[in-house]
Amino acid sequence: MTTPRVVELRKNVMNRHDRKAALLRRYFQSTQTCVINLVSSPGTGKTELLTEILRSMVDRGIAAAALVGDCATDNDAKRLETSAAPVRQIVTEGLCHLEATMLDEHVQGWDLNGIDFLFIENVGNLVCPSAFDLGESLRVVLLSVTEGEDKPLKYPQMFNSADFALLTKMDLAGPCEFDLAAARDNIETVSPGMTVLETSARNPQSVQAVVDHMVQLRQLDLGSQSVPTDSLSTT
């Protein structure tokens, strides 16, 4: 029997990852933790803004925690810890994105009951993380005014896969001659209807607005989950 034979496999390449992500998503739902995956280029301001978000949440009595993916150092984890929120670090050893399986290890034994928000600072990269579901409730893409308005058009997959976008470093918009309307148009082009908030880590009001938006989305999510209790059993 040496005739070649074709086998129709029809299998999702991301099967292994997606299954793990689905398990994580169920766990996060069971603890009512809203998990927010932050993605952007390196240097966009994820750590800076997240530190302020965590600080604001701690002040408002919202239980928040963070997991940070970093290629080589624990610098970001140290910065985030200044907010007084619990922070854990995932050293990716050079990997350009986080995967659900890597998260699993760090979430194991971490009792998320009572944690309202868990933030995941992904590895700085606008390409690779877009393909990997982490079981998050929301994916948030950040774009700083120093990067150029055309980035959404250059990385449409990432912007399209996000649930909302944050423009960061708005305090530098003037000196950078940032064209806000063009940036918004470009985001709208690759992800029609997506919410875009303008932020600056130096402007507490803008941080408040982001926190308000997140709290609102979590409420909506909890509301939609609590209605059909049997929906979890569908596969």
Binding site: M1, T2, P4, R5, V6, V7, E8, L9, R10, K11, N12, V13, M14, N15, R16, H17, L95, C96, H97, E99, V127, C128, P129, S130, A131, F132, L153, P156, Q157, M158, N160, S161, E188, T189, V190, S191, P192, G193
Partner: protein
């Protein structure tokens, strides 16, 4: 280079299925990847050539079929294929946020060129 990690998935999935079919060597693997899945075909080819070493796929070629992005046009109530990443209906000009396909990454099929030993190959494993 997340393509390396994706190539690893492909090789292990196909190798497991090939073994279940009593294969000794796989000569080709055909993949469908959506334009929105965030994978660069060239980088995936490169990753595949590294990862296939020492596996049943060592001599296998990777055939990549690119799948277009298909969206729903709410104004004209029709499906339409996008030629670029601007999410607008080419006929009606309206935004098209609803994506019907183009995000997936699927191993369609593989071809076995050699079977192992003389053992029978009755078992049909199809998933």
């Amino acid at each position: 280079m997340h393509e390396l990690s994706i190539a690893t998935n492909i090789v292990s999935e196909v190798e497991a299925a090939a073994r279940a079919h009593n294969a000794a060597a796989v000569s080709s693997v055909t993949l469908a990847i959506g334009r929105l899945c965030g994978v660069v075909p060239g980088a995936l080819q490169f990753g595949f050539e590294i990862v296939r070493e020492g596996s049943l796929l060592a001599q296998a070629e990777l055939v990549i079929e690119e799948e277009p992005v298909v969206v729903w046009c709410p104004e004209g109530n029709h499906t339409v294929e996008l030629s670029d990443m601007a999410f607008r209906c080419p006929e009606h000009g309206c935004p098209t946020p609803e994506i019907l396909s183009g995000k997936g990454m699927e191993i369609l099929r593989f071809e076995i060129s050699n079977f192992a030993g003389t053992s029978d190959m009755k078992e049909e494993v199809t998933q």
